[in-house]
């Protein structure tokens, strides 16, 4: 489904990803872990097509298409979703109106029929239950005055409604208490199927207790230095990232 080959990318002229390769098949859940500054967020933003990130070389193929050639909105319509680390507020824009516009633009792109207000409301209500969001959130401004945890839940709610083929979660677990963490995991687990893939980017292992990945990769200095099964996450939790850095340093020599 997603094929990243030898990707070099950065921001403001600074090279951050240095030859990253990763392959994700339909139905798989991958976790990318790594210390601060290893390039985790850069990877997430490059995949989503954020303009200020620059791709220097390498390829990213999504379902056979050249993902890097598409603008951000096209990638979203093709089924790439990014749950952001810092969701922004859009004051005065009704949360539910925003999401309806988003869903219908995705549906239109896929040649599916757009949902009317009633159909959409029904879908939204159903998905809100999954992430335990109160219905009052529907009519508030997008993320306007939301707490940190509410913003993250709102991201997962949007993901549930948009039903993406590939969901990228950029440190969605940061700053969440244990209840919110569980809710986020429930939302992501509900999405899991043989057609959906998930890429979880995280610093800590704790989300991975609820959201058991098929593969865990360790990112250091802009490339994947170690891959393994879910037990790798536990190992990292116990030993920290230092030993990885040392291994990577050795490998670089």
């Amino acid at each position: 489904m997603l094929e990243i080959k030898d990707l070099y990318a950065g921001i403001d002229g600074k090279e951050i990803l240095r030859g990253l390769s990763l392959s994700i098949q339909p139905g798989e859940v991958h976790a990318i872990m790594g210390p601060n500054g290893s390039g985790k967020s850069t990877l997430a933003n490059v995949l989503a097509g954020r303009p200020k990130y620059e791709v220097l070389s390498g390829t990213v193929t999504f379902e056979g298409k050249d993902l890097l050639a598409l603008p951000a909105e096209e990638r979203a319509r093709e089924g790439v979703f990014l749950a952001m680390q810092y969701p922004v507020e859009i004051p005065g824009v009704n949360n539910i109106y925003f999401l309806k516009a988003a869903l219908n633009s995705v549906k239109k792109h896929r040649g599916e029929e757009e949902l009317d207000a009633m159909e959409f409301l029904q879908l939204a209500r159903e998905k809100m239950k999954v992430v335990e969001l109160d219905e009052s959130f529907m009519n508030r401004g997008v993320n306007e005055g939301f707490s940190g945890g509410e913003k993250k839940r709102n991201e997962i709610f949007q993901m549930a409604v948009l039903d993406p083929k590939l969901a990228v979660l950029d440190e969605t677990d940061s700053g969440l208490d244990i209840d919110a963490l569980r809710v986020v995991a429930t939302g992501v687990n509900a999405l899991r199927s043989e057609k959906h893939s998930v890429l979880v980017i995280t610093h800590y292992q704790r989300l991975l207790r609820y959201l058991v990945p098929d593969f865990v990769h360790v990112l250091a200095n802009g490339r994947i230095v170690k891959s393994g099964g879910k037990e790798l996450a536990e190992e990292l939790e116990q030993k920290g990232y230092d030993w990885i850095d040392q291994e990577a340093a050795v490998a670089a020599q």
Binding site: A48, G49, R50, P51, K52, P71, A72, E73, R75, A76, R77, F81, L82, M84, Y86, P87, V88, I90, P91, G92, V93, N94, F98, L99, A101, A102, L103, S105, V106, H109, G141, V142, Q158, L162
Partner: protein, 478 residues
């Protein structure tokens, strides 16, 4: 997605820029007592009104054009403008069916139906073309409840006592350069009187259209809501695209007697000039309302047009417990300039006022909020809440805020909030990442920004305003 995208969304073409080919009666350019006599004679006015005009003109000659506004334009040659233009008509109209088909077609094209049967929304319209009111709909229906809604000229003929009593009672002929000029040369406009205790059964609306080249438009609107009466009034305006600037100096006076309420909404879409700042309307307008005991005056404006806007719809809260409101969205794109805001003068006790101003700048637009809140000595327990927010699109535009506050009574409560924000790369990216195009995202963000004002507009106007904002911003994102 970057500034280039923002630039692109902000530059859609002005779609009301056509010219109607119609024979007009136009006065030669220039301003003199003779011209004023000519206008007055054309309109078969009584002597008192001619005297008032001449008095205004003589006062105007002693005045200087104000320069304090934060707008820049070359000097206006007041002798090069024609002060009267009217579509030629053969006789007095007895019914709407007799309106010139060309004129009818013009208003149809603008989406203003003068056909009462076709009009489902129940809005009575007074259509003003160049200087003259061409048709007023639903008059019979309004007359049933005693509401007078007609052109200003007609009011002078049919209801001289009312006009004489209230004309200049809110904006005196000595008020300011442009209002005084208007007092001397105004040609037509709308007049509206709601009798005691009557709630006007439909929205009243005036649609202004400038057509002739080299003419100024000077209309005058007077609305009087008698004790306990209420009315909602809408005003819309467009003009053809022309390379030269045209002057529009209107005066609107509102009188809300004890317990009355007037809601005045404007969607101003005069031709703003082209992308390089050539042409466009100079919109120098004086709007003011006087509120007596327990009455309420509410201004709502959406200002997207004009090359230059100079406009401060104000409330004189003379009576005790009177309420003044000002809700404004002003947008400047390309080379447009706007210096707009309000004045709330608290004279009576327990007077309250609310100001919500939203300024949006794109392209090289310059936007100034200028507001004055004055609490006079006897205004016990006066309250004001002001909020002015500015939104910038791109990095070549500007937003300025000049709030003046003058308090002479220590029991007053004042609140003032202000903010300036930019449509951020992160907001746009957030929308795009959800599949929403950059254009839709900008219009969504801008509409969200204006939401508090739009919800004050009557329903159909709110929809129009949202669309207009989208159009005016087209091309400002790239």
């Amino acid at each position: 997605m970057s500034n280039a995208a923002i630039q692109e969304i902000a530059s859609q073409d002005y779609k009301y820029g056509f010219v109607t080919d119609i024979e007009s009666d136009t006065a030669p350019p220039g301003l003199s007592e003779d011209i004023i006599r000519f206008i007055s004679a054309k309109k078969e006015e009584p002597q008192w009104l001619l005297d008032w005009r001449l008095k205004s003109f003589r006062h105007w000659l002693t005045m200087k054009e104000p320069t304090w506004a934060n707008v820049h334009y070359p000097p206006i040659d007041y002798q090069a403008t024609s002060y009267y233009s009217a579509p030629k008509k053969k006789k007095i109209l007895n019914s709407l069916d007799e309106v010139d088909p060309e004129l009818r077609a013009t208003f149809d094209k603008l989406g203003i139906s003068l056909d009462e049967q076709k009009r489902l929304s129940g809005v009575a319209v007074d259509a003003v073309f160049d200087s003259v009111s061409v048709a007023t709909t639903f008059r019979a229906e309004l007359a049933k409840v005693g509401v007078i809604f007609c052109s200003f000229s007609e009011a002078v003929r049919e209801h001289p006592d009312l006009v004489r009593k209230y004309l200049g009672s809110v904006v005196p002929y000595t008020d300011n350069f442009f209002a005084t000029l208007n007092s001397a040369v105004f040609t037509d406009g709308s007049f509206c009187y709601i009798p005691k205790g009557v709630r006007c059964p439909m929205e009243l609306s005036t649609y202004f259209r400038i057509n002739q080249a080299n003419t100024g438009q000077f209309e005058r609107t007077l609305i009087v809501a008698d004790e306990g009466a209420s009315v909602s009034y809408l005003e819309g305006c467009t003009a053809p695209m022309r390379d030269e600037n045209q002057l529009h100096a209107a005066v609107v006076e509102l009188v809300a007697l004890d317990g009355a309420s007037i809601k005045y909404s404007t969607v101003q879409n005069w031709y703003p000039g082209d992308k390089n700042g050539k042409g466009g309307i100079y919109n120098f307008v004086t709007k003011r309302g006087k509120a007596f005991n327990r009455s309420k005056i509410s201004w709502t404006q959406v200002e997207t047009g004009s090359a230059i806007t100079w406009k401060y719809p104000s409330c004189i809260l003379q009576g005790d417990d009177s309420v003044g409101e000002f809700y404004s969205v002003a947008l400047t794109n390309n080379y447009q300039q706007a210096d707009t805001g309000t004045k709330m003068i608290h004279i009576g006790r327990n007077t309250r006022s609310t100001i919500v101003s939203k300024g949006i700048s794109a392209g090289r637009g310059q936007q100034t909020y200028r507001g004055e809140v004055k609490i006079m000595k006897n205004a016990e327990n006066a309250r004001n809440y002001s909020q002015c927010d500015s939104l910038l699109l791109g990095d070549k535009c500007g937003a300025h805020t000049f709030p003046y506050i003058e308090v002479r009574n220590s029991t007053a409560t004042m609140e003032h909030e202000a903010s300036t924000s930019k449509i951020g790369e992160d907001q746009l990216f957030y929308c795009q990442q959800r599949g929403i195009s950059a254009e839709d995202a900008v219009s969504m963000i801008v509409n969200g920004f204006c939401r508090e004002v739009f919800r004050e507009l009557p329903m159909e106007f709110a929809v129009e305003a949202q669309k207009l904002l989208g159009v005016s911003l087209e091309g400002s994102v790239g």
